[in-house]
Point group: C2
């Protein structure tokens, strides 16, 4: 069920083609999603410095904490002799850094000569100290920002990956049902989150859950204008609205999904905005097709909401696939007016009509995969403002 | 229930005292735990660039994505006029970066002059691009690595914080009970994780749960030598051993806890190592007291296991408190032989006897707070290898 050798070889070949295009002799990969994509490696070891060095030719080298390197072969397809563990004594020291050791090993393995080497300038887990240690320890390298190079390779999913995305979508739909059931007047937000997290880990028949890169978000009542506030013991009130934004994850692949619930008769303004969002989402889903640019599809949305006198300054979605904390987005395309990337079959997007208005908010989204002629919707929940009787 | 103005003022004053000692005119803080500690700010917005600038004198400035800045006042005590939101158009662009904008704002607020400014070189969320944008946008700054300055301020907890740590310990103990109940022969690891995560979010009477910085770890059977592999749909086998490492979290404070279960009669070697670990942990807990150095306490452990012919190359624990993904440790003291930091009342530690042997593993830990004369144990579970009948 893990990615086949052919699948991994194809990913590496596409990465190297892009490296060649960009004039890179090597690439330092630290983003855990990119490590997973290229090698299969999967563990919660990314809070400590670790890297995959991808030379343009020859076998990559995986360098991580000794405690993690010993068992890395359980998930990584990298040959064991190409997995190196730095000593425990280098953990959290002011006077030495694991990447000093990594630089030594890279030199010892013949990678220390003059080379133009890319790094991931916006990756979450390439610390400034890590970067400076590479600069100092490999003085013949010309380090250049590779700008999410592997993320851009990931943007088109293989048939194998699409199966994982479909499974993630089924997990998301089940988690949303659990959230909708648990959200009621008087319930604490942390209890709603508990029900969602239980469903996220359990999964569904044929698709076990995995941990999502982000915890369930439950923007509520007046604070629904604050989309990324996490759950607390606040109780839902009768008549209040709550949005549920979550992802289903299956073997690190993510399908996010958002809905808004009204616990009792919705406020007229919320009802109006939710209806505009739902119509807009339908128009966008109908408009997504290979050959169109993202900007063209965004224009459909923009024209729709402008007619209703509604503004949405934030982006309408982004590319999805493998995710690790703290983000389930791929950090590549954003659905907005100045994104001219052209849609291709195999791309997966989270299309999110998130309307964070002053004093209330409304979220409605789907995860989709681009097909030859349109989209396949991966997630399933009533595509409307969900009204629950305040009981 | 949020930190009082006095509590926050004390934290800021201690941070500034350390800045002054280190010759810093300003400090760029990005670690979400440090942001929370200094301002109360709490949201899952750290996947996008954001910073708190702390000048040696005058009011700090909080800079984050506009979508998050609008509601930041809901958790941050920072005055609203000192919270700035960068435009959505700067999200995920190759040609511009939010910290270009942040640098402009810092100059506009009078912070652009000649100054020695610290940054967090090993923080997870200061990307290399963020760092380079500050370097370029504030050319009169001398940027120096502040080496986890605020993390070191956090090491001694206030009475207010100790109450939160105690609550986190109660949540951890409940989550461990849920994990022990769910772990049985035939159960899938993701279902054990689901039960733990449900308990972690629910919490206990008087202490609601919060999301822990790390998901439950369940090293199992032969792969118990791989401590950070996350859960899968693998089923527990009769006679197998499984370790459970988790944390209870309460309002961002964390108390980790680890135990090992044998599903049926334990292997003799596991039983022996578990007994040595349990005795060693008791000796260490009895040996922890203010005035002693960490190295002195580590020596108690080392001498105990050496007598039994057992080696443990990894550290015996670390400082704990506020946690955000991907780590619940504070990145300050590690319990090991060369750590000469002296124990003080109010320090909190996760003491973890983690024995990752070839082909099996055993973990036994407690979270503790240093008192005037010894330790208060924050977590509660049978302190031994837990044997469950394989049913």
């Amino acid at each position: 069920m893990a990615a086949s050798a052919d699948e991994l070889a194809g990913r590496l070949a596409r990465t190297r083609a892009r490296m060649e295009r960009d004039g890179l002799d090597g690439l330092v990969v630290v983003d855990p999603a990119n490590l997973h994509y290229l090698t299969g490696y999967d563990a919660w070891s990314f809070y400590m410095p670790q890297l995959l060095f991808v030379p343009l030719e020859g076998e990559p080298l995986l360098i991580m904490r000794a405690m993690d390197a010993g068992g890395a072969h359980r998930t990584a397809a990298t040959p064991p002799e190409r997995i190196l563990g730095y000593p425990e004594s280098l953990v959290h020291r002011r006077d030495a850094h694991p990447f000093d050791w990594a630089a030594e090993q890279l030199r010892a393995h013949g990678f220390g000569g003059r080379a133009r080497v890319g790094y991931e300038g916006e990756a979450h887990f390439l610390s400034v100290r890590s970067f400076l240690a590479l600069q100092q320890g490999l003085p013949d390298w010309q380090l250049v920002d590779a700008h999410d190079l592997v993320n851009w390779v990931r943007i088109v999913k293989s048939p194998y990956e699409l199966e994982l995305m479909r499974a993630a979508g089924r997990v998301a739909s089940a988690a949303m049902r659990a959230g909708i059931d648990a959200a009621r007047a008087g319930a604490r937000l942390n209890d709603v989150a508990a029900a969602i997290q239980f469903a996220q880990a359990t999964g569904v028949d044929g698709a076990e859950g995995d941990y999502p890169a982000i915890v369930p978000m439950l923007p509520t009542g007046e604070s629904a204008d604050t989309p990324h506030m996490t759950f607390s013991a606040r109780r839902l009130g009768a008549g209040e609205a709550v949005s549920i934004e979550l992802a289903g994850a299956h073997r690190r692949y993510h399908a996010p999904l958002a809905r808004t619930l009204s616990l009792g008769r919705p406020d007229a303004e919320l009802e109006r905005v939710a209806a505009v969002a739902a119509e807009g989402l339908e128009l966008v889903l109908a408009g997504l097709r290979p050959g169109r640019s993202i900007a063209e599809v965004h224009a459909i949305w923009q024209s729709h909401i402008a007619k209703q006198g509604i503004e949405k300054p934030s982006r309408l979605g982004y590319s999805i696939g493998i995710g690790y904390p703290p983000d389930w987005g791929e950090r590549t395309v954003s659905i907005r007016g100045d994104e001219h990337h052209v849609l291709e079959p195999g791309m997966c997007l989270h299309v999110i009509a998130g309307m964070w208005m002053s004093g209330y908010g409304c979220e409605l989204s789907e995860s989709v995969a681009l097909t030859e002629s349109g989209v396949e919707v991966l997630t399933d929940a009533p595509r409307e403002l969900i009204v629950k009787e305040a009981s």
